[in-house]
Symmetry: C2
Subunit: 228 residues, 2 copies
């Protein structure tokens, strides 16, 4: 799938969920040599990380790196703090599953790796439509990060601009699913659930499960998710 | 030193070096309740981390947190990659001790903790005068980060602005040393050397040692650094 010689290098943030798997497929379809990056940040759903590893291999990333970050030291989210319950009904405003500064931290590390690889492209699967109320999924946030990146780095200082790609940002969940399906993504291999079990089977009740299930329904595509 | 009731909370990045110890003393002198934050990122000089712990206690931070980040996974710097030698003579341009995206990552994590603490203030000891050529020590970088922070977070989204304080940014090393000395910082407790030994004794040869030694000389203050 990769164009061997004239391909550009890209860092692709890969959580193991539906969105980031689609992003990886899109970046590969555009001819990038993709370096997939995942984070172990004390999230409850480490079944997602196992999914990230197999998706990276199956879709054709050139490598997959897993970086440990002690976000659990900070707490403040139902995804990293076992004292906060994952809600099973929709909540108004920014949800308790919001991880403080998560996308800022993830993009910062992607930026560091991009600099080492001499890559000028980072892909991230943020989405401003079905975005669950996270502030760090909005287009203005991404623009501010790109601006920061070009001031933060050796490459930026030397006049080589970095580009943060957000191919899903204006797509509905159904559109994401249609796009990925057309590119051959096997969504049964992805894990989106905030409370997946050790086998990666979804609860079917959390925000992430609800959005995903509705997405397949709206796309008119059979939901391959493994529920427990 | 802290004003118990009406004090504001601040996150203070504390490496264990001369600059960040001075920043902590300044933040405390301004009445902040200081939450000191250090990172274990595979740096060679972990004597600095031990120094950070004792400085936090001795100066009067309310707590000290150490977050592990796998920056060594990324490589690309003499400070985290044992295949790259720390230079003993000055080099032109951005030095090999530059850690890719380091301050972006550190500020992102400080932002996450600030959000959990409901703190609107972050202190960082970047310096644009004796800055060793790191792009992420410039005022434009800090301004861009502050802009990002206010788009990235729940607090920013709810209209509570975050402020990144850089009290050293326009000070020479000698001015920093005079300021900290006036505030009672014991610099013999700090470690700046890129190649400190297990006891925290400095090499006296690397960029960091040269800048520090020159600073004490320019300030007309006896250098208390423990050299090996």
């Amino acid at each position: 799938m990769n164009v061997a010689n004239d391909a550009r290098e890209a860092v692709v943030l890969l959580s193991g969920g539906l969105d980031s798997a689609t992003v990886l497929a899109i970046a590969l379809s555009e001819g990038y040599r993709c370096h997939a990056l995942s984070f172990d940040y004390g999230q409850r759903h480490d079944a997602e990380l196992k999914a990230a590893g197999r998706i990276a291999v199956e879709l054709g990333a050139v490598e997959h790196k897993l970086i440990r970050i002690g976000l659990d030291e900070i707490g403040g989210s139902a995804l990293t703090d076992t004292n906060i319950a994952v809600p099973e009904t929709p909540t108004a405003g920014i949800p308790v599953t919001y991880v403080p500064a998560r996308n800022t931290v993830f993009l910062a590390l992607a930026l560091g790796w991009a600099e080492v690889l001499d890559a000028a492209d980072i892909f991230i699967g943020v989405n401003a439509v079905d975005y669950s109320g996270y502030p760090d999924c909005r287009p203005a946030f991404i623009e501010a990060f790109q601006n920061l990146a070009n001031l933060a780095t050796r490459a930026g200082a030397e006049g080589k601009p970095l580009h943060v790609h957000t191919p899903l940002i204006h797509l509905s969940k159904a559109e994401i699913i249609r796009r990925g399906t057309a590119l051959g993504v096997d969504y049964s291999r992805t894990v989106s659930c905030y409370a997946a079990d050790g086998e990666g089977r979804a609860c079917g009740k959390c925000d992430a499960c609800r959005l995903r299930r509705q997405g397949f329904q709206d796309a008119g595509i059979a939901d391959p998710t493994r529920y427990r």
